[in-house]
C-alpha cells in the first residue's frame, strides 16, 4: 500500500437517525473509521443494516446527529448499483459525461470539454461511438462504465461505490471489477466499496468493515477477517454465503 499515512476520509463517532421525537429511529451507532489514500475499504452487511445511510451521510445528503465526517479530498463521488436511474434518459451519453464539466468552477472551452470526455471514455473502456447513443441503448456493463466515468471526470480521488457490480452478470461483473482496480492503480484512487457479497469484497478490498444493525462489529485486513473472524455475526455471514 502506498502513502500509508495520508488520509482521504475520516468518520468520527458518527450517529445518524431518521425522524424526530418519539418517531426517532437511530440507524448508525458510533461509526468510526478512516480511509487512506490509495486504499480500497469494503463495507459489508445485510439489507437495512445502514450501509447506504452511511454513504449518504458521508456525502452530506443525510445530516449527522453526532460525530463528524472529515473530507481531505474535494468532490467525493458516488457510483450506484443501477446506473440507469441516475442517467438522464433524454440525453446522449456524451452530453451526460460533459455535464459536470459545464458546471464546475474551472471554465473549459467546448473543445476542451469534448477532449476530456473522450479521454475519460477511453479510460473506462467505452467505445467513442457510444457517446452518441442514449443510455437505453447501452448494456448494463456499459452503463456502469458511464457512471464510473462521470464519477471521475472532475478529478475526484474518493469514490463511494454502493453495490456497483451487484446487478451485473458475472462475466460483466468481473470486467467492471477489473476496470475499477485498474483505475484505482492508475490514479491512486480511494474506494469505499459497499457490497452484500462477501466474495466480491474479498476480491476487491484491502480492509473490510462488517456492519450489523448500524454498528461496525468487526474490521481489519480482508485476509485476516476471512481467515479468523472474531465476531459471531461475521462468522454467520461467512458461513451463510456459498
Amino acid at each position: 500500500m502506498k502513502n500509508q499515512e495520508e488520509l482521504v476520509l475520516e468518520v468520527r463517532h458518527l450517529e445518524v437517525g431518521y425522524g424526530r421525537g418519539r418517531k426517532y429511529h437511530q440507524v448508525l451507532y458510533d461509526v468510526d473509521f478512516c480511509l487512506k489514500k490509495g486504499e480500497i475499504l469494503g463495507l459489508v452487511g445485510e439489507s437495512g443494516c445502514g450501509k447506504s445511510t452511511l454513504s449518504k451521510t458521508i456525502l452530506g445528503f443525510v445530516p449527522a446527529k453526532k460525530g463528524q465526517v472529515v473530507h481531505y479530498t474535494s468532490r467525493p463521488q458516488m457510483i450506484f448499483q443501477d446506473p440507469f436511474g441516475s442517467l438522464n434518459p433524454g440525453k446522449k451519453v456524451g452530453w451526460i459525461l460533459e455535464e459536470p464539466l459545464r458546471f464546475q468552477k474551472e471554465k473549459l472551452s467546448e473543445g476542451q470539454r469534448r477532449q476530456r470526455v473522450e479521454a475519460m471514455a477511453e479510460k473506462v473502456g467505452l467505445d467513442k461511438k457510444l457517446l452518441g447513443r442514449y443510455p437505453r441503448d447501452l448494456s448494463g456493463g456499459q452503463r456502469q462504465r458511464v457512471s464510473i466515468a462521470i464519477s471521475l471526470i472532475q478529478g475526484s480521488q474518493l469514490i463511494l461505490a454502493d453495490e456497483p457490480v451487484s446487478a451485473l452478470d458475472v462475466t460483466i461483473q468481473r470486467q467492471i471489477m477489473e476496470l475499477m482496480l485498474g483505475l484505482q492503480e492508475e490514479m491512486n484512487l480511494s474506494y469505499l466499496f459497499i457490497s452484500h457479497d462477501l466474495d466480491v469484497i474479498y476480491q476487491m478490498c484491502d480492509r473490510v468493515m462488517v456492519m450489523e444493525k448500524g454498528r461496525i462489529v468487526e474490521s481489519g485486513p480482508v485476509e485476516q477477517i476471512y481467515r479468523e473472524p472474531e465476531h459471531p455475526y461475521t462468522r454467520v455471514l461467512l458461513e451463510a454465503s456459498l
Binding site: 480500497i40 445485510e46 439489507s47 448494463g140 452478470d169 458475472v170 462475466t171 460483466i172 461483473q173 468481473r174 471489477m177 477489473e178 482496480l181 485498474g182 492503480e185 452484500h196 457479497d197 462477501l198 466474495d199 466480491v200 474479498y202 476480491q203 476487491m204 478490498c205 484491502d206 480482508v222 485476509e223 476471512y226 454467520v236 455471514l237 458461513e239 451463510a240 454465503s241 456459498l242
Partner: protein
C-alpha cells in the same frame, strides 16, 4: 417425468422472427433437482415460462416437443394449462412481493391451489394451510393467516410462496431465481428449506439462476445456457470441475471467489 426435446421458442412479432431458445433438450426424473444457469438474455426464464404455459402471446414454441408425465405440453389449451398449473407444476419467482397479491391475506393465497384443484371444504383447507405454513418455517401460522404480504419480510414472503406452491403437492416446482433478492443468511435458509421440501414431498425442482454458487449448492445436474442455446449439461460436480466448453470455463472463471484476490493478485504483478 419431464422430457423436452429440441425445443425452439421464437418471437414472431419481430421481423425476422427471433429465436430466444434454440434446440433445447432436458429430461428430469421425479424428485430430481436440476439447475439451469445462464446470464441475462440466455433464455433460461423463457424456458421456464414455456413449462408453465406462460409465454407471452407473441412467443411460440416453433419446434420440438415437451412431454410431462405423458401429457404433451406444447399443444395444451388454456383450459388444459389451468389443470396443470399449481397442481402438477408450480412456480416461484425472484420477488414474491410482485407475485403475491397485495390485497389478499396470506392464508387465502396459501389455499389458492387447494380451492382451484380440490373439493376440500373450508375447514380442511384452513388446517392444511396452517400445516404447510408450519412446514415452511413460518412462525405463528394462525396470526399470519390473516395478515397481508406487505407485513412480512422478504424471506418470509418467499416462504409463503414456497408453501403456496407446494400445497397442491405438485410433481415439479420451477424456481426462477428464488433467492436472488435475499440477503445471504436468508438465502441460505431458503435453500435449506427447498432441499428439505424436496426430500419430504419428493417434488422435483427445476432451479433457475444466474449464480453458479447457488446452483452448485442445491442441484445435482446443471444445464448451462448462453444466448438461447444449451452450452453444456451434466453432473454439477463434473461441469464445475472439468468444464468442456469455453463459455462454461469463462463463466466459472468469473465467479468471485474467496481465494486468489483480484486486488492482491494485481498488486503482486505490479511489483514484479
Amino acid at each position: 417425468m419431464l422430457k423436452m426435446n429440441h425445443v425452439t421458442i421464437t418471437f414472431q412479432d419481430v421481423n425476422p422472427p427471433q429465436q430466444v431458445v434454440e434446440d433445447f433438450s432436458l429430461s428430469m426424473e421425479p424428485g430430481e433437482i436440476v439447475g439451469i444457469v445462464g446470464e441475462s438474455g440466455s433464455g433460461k426464464t423463457m424456458t421456464a415460462l414455456s413449462l408453465m404455459g406462460l409465454l407471452k402471446r407473441d412467443a411460440h414454441i416453433t419446434k420440438g416437443s415437451m412431454n410431462f408425465m405423458g401429457k404433451d405440453l406444447a399443444s395444451q389449451t388454456q383450459k388444459g394449462w389451468e389443470a396443470i398449473r399449481g397442481k402438477e407444476i408450480s412456480m416461484i419467482f425472484q420477488e414474491p412481493m410482485t407475485s403475491l397479491n397485495p390485497v389478499l391475506t396470506i392464508g387465502r393465497q396459501m389455499e389458492e391451489n387447494l380451492r382451484l384443484h380440490t373439493s376440500l371444504d373450508k375447514k380442511t383447507r384452513y388446517q392444511k394451510a396452517l400445516d404447510m405454513m408450519e412446514k415452511v418455517g413460518l412462525p405463528q401460522p394462525e396470526k399470519l393467516y390473516g395478515q397481508y404480504p406487505h407485513q412480512l419480510s422478504g424471506g418470509m414472503r418467499q416462504r409463503v410462496m414456497i408453501g403456496a406452491a407446494l400445497i397442491g403437492n405438485p410433481k415439479l416446482m420451477i424456481a426462477d431465481e428464488p433467492t436472488t433478492a435475499l440477503d445471504v443468511t436468508i438465502q441460505a435458509q431458503i435453500l435449506a428449506l427447498l432441499k428439505e421440501m424436496n426430500r419430504e414431498f419428493g417434488t422435483a425442482i427445476l432451479f433457475i439462476s444466474h449464480d453458479l454458487r447457488v446452483i452448485r449448492s442445491i442441484c445435482s445436474r446443471v444445464v448451462v445456457m448462453h444466448q438461447g442455446k444449451m452450452v453444456e449439461s451434466g453432473n454439477v460436480q463434473e461441469v464445475m470441475e472439468a468444464p468442456q466448453k469455453e463459455y462454461t470455463r469463462r463463466l466459472l472463471a468469473s465467479i468471485p471467489r474467496r481465494d486468489c484476490s483480484l486486488r492482491r493478485h494485481r498488486e503482486e504483478r505490479l511489483r514484479q
